[in-house]
């Protein structure tokens, strides 16, 4: 009984200590929020709360202009369809290129699939560097070098995707069952053959799931890249927003197109990922 009493005391003190840590954690989060807000507020040209009252001015202007356009508004949406397709094109090609590079990088950086030992840390650092740079920074640099076109955007998104997907793919590799790899080794299969027949069938569903998730992300990234001159729907949006009054209906048409497209891709990819990993809807 004495033993149980001592244990109870120990558990109670442990629980109290955990509660104290939780309280300190919550206080820290509040402190960071308050200091962050006051810091950015002092950096603003105007006061944030004063600006808040005008927050809905621009959106309501857009909505009113779109409403006034009447049925012609739907024609406007169709006008911007080619630009949307260009953005999707950038995202699609970049995801395919980046995904292919990611497979190579992942296979070269996972102990579990017998990658070349000394190369593993090197490839991992390369992937760290590739995903450390946001697409926007790489695109700005490439647009400066190569000029304004979708190609620099494509390269920028593919580069970042290779690093980001490579890391996720290599984590999938580290969790696979090694028995099929060993089985093929014992048959005299080469490394490439082991990857093809023992690794790929195991990782393909998860790879595809991550690939689709990345495609969603890349559609948004490609739209943003239009703002820096990479073409596509982003560039059109920048133009119409820049015009301000009078182009509100066009801005609204682009917003609707972007919203519907991204929502459709999200839903389709979520459905497919759910099917692939076999656990209902993926999130």
């Amino acid at each position: 009984m004495a033993g149980v009493a001592a244990l109870e005391q120990e558990i109670m003190s442990l629980r109290k200590r955990r509660q104290l840590y939780s309280l300190i954690g919550v206080l820290l989060v509040i402190a960071v929020l308050v200091s962050g807000y006051s810091k950015s507020n002092t950096m603003n040209s105007g006061n944030f709360l004063d600006g808040l009252s005008k927050f809905f001015d621009y959106p309501s202007e857009i909505v009113i202009e779109a409403w006034e356009a009447g049925p012609a508004f739907f024609g406007l949406i169709l006008t911007y369809l080619p630009a949307m397709l260009e953005t999707l094109n950038i995202a699609g090609v970049a995801t395919l290129l980046g995904g292919a590079m990611a497979v190579v990088l992942a296979m070269a950086s996972s102990r579990n699939v017998d990658s070349w030992g000394p190369g593993i840390p090197v490839v991992r650092r390369v992937m760290d560097i590739m995903r450390a740079f946001p697409e926007l920074i790489i695109a700005l640099f490439l647009i400066f070098v190569l000029g304004s076109s979708p190609v620099p955007a494509m390269i920028a998104v593919a580069f970042h995707t290779a690093g980001a997907l490579g890391k996720l793919f290599s984590e999938v590799n580290e969790n696979i069952d090694r028995k099929p790899i060993e089985g093929l080794s014992a048959c005299g299969a080469s490394w490439m053959q082991r990857i093809r027949y023992a690794v790929m069938p195991q990782v393909a569903p998860n790879y595809l799931s991550y690939f689709l998730l990345r495609l969603e992300i890349n559609v948004r990234a490609s739209a943003i890249l239009g703002f820096v001159g990479a073409g596509g729907i982003g560039q059109e949006l920048r133009r119409t927003i820049g015009w301000g009054q009078g182009a509100g209906d066009e801005t609204a048409a682009i917003f609707v197109l972007l919203f519907v497209t991204i929502m459709l891709i999200d839903q389709a990819s979520s459905y497919l990922r759910g099917k692939l990993v076999g656990s209902g809807r993926a999130h």
């Binding site: 099929p180 089985g183 093929l184 048959c187 005299g188 053959q193 093809r196 027949y197 069938p201």
Partner: protein, 278 residues
Amino acid sequence: MIQFDNVTKTFGARTAVNKVSFTIDKPQMIGVIGRSGAGKSTLLRMINRLTPATSGQILFNNMNILALKGAQMRRWQRDCAMVFQQFNLVPRLDVVTNVMLGRLNGHGAFKSLFNVFSADDVTTALNALDRLGIAQEASKRAEELSGGQQQRVAIARALMQDPQMILADEPIASLDPMNAKIVMDSLREIHERDNKVVLCNLHTLDTARAYCDRVIGMRDGDIVFDGVPEALTTDVARDIYGADESFNEAATSTAIETDTSRTTHSAGTVTPAVAVAV
């Protein structure tokens, strides 16, 4: 044929196989018995080069297989097919493809990348499956089969390799008695019909007695017995298993109970007289 010469394998400070020497000079079915950790698996894995030996040499027809590298080593791995306790198939691939993977060695990059196998490969694979009585499962995914069926697929893959010898590492350790009997019968049949060396790690004395022409007993990395099954007396078994007077052979038995006096291996017919205790 194959000769072990002072072969040692150490894992850090632990010696798994200690200066082992023995020779296999004719196609036999050989059982390797001993407790878990006695070095049985390491012994087999060193032959297939899945585990590198620390010292010594293993000669196959005077070729030191421990010195082989690259393509030559992989060619040797194809020649000594391996059957594993956990089957080591690719679960998501269909059965016939799993069997054809035994022919990967020698396939070029293009054929491998695009999963191209010749009509001859398909026929050979189906024949191998038919020989093991599971040709009807050829189009199913490997993961859909029972343990016993998967082990037969693994043996079919070994046959597909057209090997010089078959190494079986505890092939029946995760199977029920009925499937264990089917698998052991298959290995014995391959040995007899194809005249191949079958080196088989076994946990149970009775299985070794029923199916093997020769038994090697290992204890703590050393070979402590090497002889015909008839010489495997209870005293010898006690020595192999490091047990005291209270040792009961039933302790090493799963459920295949055999009457060794009725076991015959001659004249091409396999009648191991196995009574399956359910």
